[in-house]
């Protein structure tokens, strides 16, 4: 059994982003970049399945420019076996990304393909589901628990108001939610070991896929500021008073 995990390089979770002066996008020069946190959870889950001897190999795929290799390398340091970098300088949308991933899921004959539910930069929350639709594979999104049962996966997923469990046949697509696991830190020996793990680098155009972006980003702006400033109160009675008498809420 093989697992394929898709990872994305994004601006680090802890960085406060800045919109560019010319409103063309978000400042990425000299900003710390990391693996999308939900993708780290995806890598971790694949490693745990491998540790339970349920899968034999973990292939990590990422799409982007040369420096995306760093992100793949950190997945290898966590415990993935090999990487694939699809090189392009264009920022692609979920449909385009899913078309590229479909190519590799089929080529690698991945049994379990795991993705983060959402990237924290564009916040689309689409790629896994689109990939499931393109491949016509069963999907389990927003997973908080993954168990193998016979030739299927039993996946508990986060839904409005609670949890739902689905049984999906292999091959399948799983997208990860926050509580699925807590990703490990790569140990120094594993970071060293990861340096010799293979990464295939492939130019996007060599794949001969028909890929075009459908959306045009006209501008990116900072959100409107919340008006006014905070009024600090001295005690709870004052608070109850303003909510009752000034705001008329209570």
């Amino acid at each position: 059994m093989k697992a394929l995990v898709a990872v994305k390089r994004v601006i680090d979770y802890n960085v406060k982003i800045r919109v560019k002066q010319d409103n063309s996008g978000v400042e990425k020069e000299n900003v710390k970049m990391s693996m999308n946190p939900f993708d780290e959870i995806a890598v971790e889950e694949a490693i745990r399945l491998k540790e339970k001897n349920l899968i034999d190999e973990i292939v990590v795929v990422s799409i982007g420019s040369d420096n995306v290799q760093e992100t793949i390398r950190s997945a290898l340091a966590m415990g993935a076996d090999r990487g694939i970098l699809v090189k392009t300088d264009n920022e692609l949308e979920p449909l385009a990304i899913a078309k590229i991933l479909k190519y590799f899921v089929e080529k690698e004959e991945s049994d379990i393909t795991i993705l983060g539910k959402q990237a924290i930069d564009d916040d689309y929350n689409q790629t896994g589901q689109i990939l499931g639709g393109l491949l016509n594979y069963p999907q389990a999104t927003f997973a908080s628990k993954v168990i193998k049962e016979d030739n299927a996966m039993l996946v508990t997923r986060e839904i409005d108001g609670g949890l739902e469990t689905l049984k999906i046949n292999l091959p399948c697509i799983i997208t990860t939610d926050l509580r699925l696991n807590e990703p490990r830190y790569a140990s120094l020996p594993n970071i060293m070991k990861a340096k010799s793990k293979p990464i295939d680098i492939i130019e996007l155009k060599e794949l001969n896929l028909e890929i075009t972006n459908r959306l045009e980003i006209l501008e990116v702006k900072a959100p409107p500021e919340r008006g006014g400033s905070v009024k600090m109160l001295d005690n709870y009675s004052e608070l109850i008073d303003v909510l009752k008498n000034k705001e008329g809420i209570l």
Partner: protein, 305 residues
Amino acid sequence: MSCLVIAELENGTPNRPSLAAISASLELESTIDLLVFNPDKIDEIKKIKNVKKIYSFKNKIDNLVAEDLVNCLKQIAANYKYIIAPSGTFSKNFIPRLAANLDLQPVTDIIKIHDKNTFDRPIYAGNAIATVRSHDKTIMLTVRGTAFQPFAQDGGSAEVELLPDLLEGNHSKFINKEITKSERPELSSAKIIVSGGRGVGSKDNFKIIEELADKLNAAIGASRAAVDAGYISNDYQVGQTGKVVAPELYIAVGISGAIQHLAGMKDSKVIVAINKDEDAPIFQVADYGLVGDLFTTIPEITKEI
């Protein structure tokens, strides 16, 4: 060619986010068609103004899996210029899969409509707003419920088309569901929300939040830190990776105000922050702040109100 809105129901009629999606849709087209999963109150739904046609299944459908739903929807959806759903866990699960079947790139979470194919959507947890123009032949959208007024006009008389039962596929099966039973209002439609953060300290301490919420007939929310710490389950999470809310009153208790949390609640009408750290970033978005120990302050408020 017109507009299909896939609505989610609450007690048989479209919920607040779906009514907001209807308002957004009517900015794009003068009439819309609706698709619902439960025919029980169809006579009420028919009265919604400017709805021309309602697709409903003959029997109420629960526990549907995305695969079966998409197989059914792809034929119906192919005839429309717009396919629109409220943003939420339900639509996030099937809208992109439907898009894959129709070779479309959805624009999710829109908060503003500029023209027929240009929309604003938040990115980076709401720390930036992108204006996006779609060049797809059919435009698929999900609408953020807090950004549009719920549609409230009636006087319509839509025709109804009943759909055959969904065919169940073999590769994905619903096994079971655990819904947290709650008498409290839903997070996404509550007028008041009381939210707890890491400062609450433990699962047991969340009782303090619950008691205040019950007194105010409020929904309970939580920050990601509180969810990560295991104080409360993920479906209460307010923020970029949880729910986006905009109640009349949002009371943030022991929440420091991480960017990702602010993205989920900063559109609330009145924000109250209660925190022992006077430098907590939550105070920068709050209307009213109270510096103090939540373990004494909150029970006092609960008692006094």
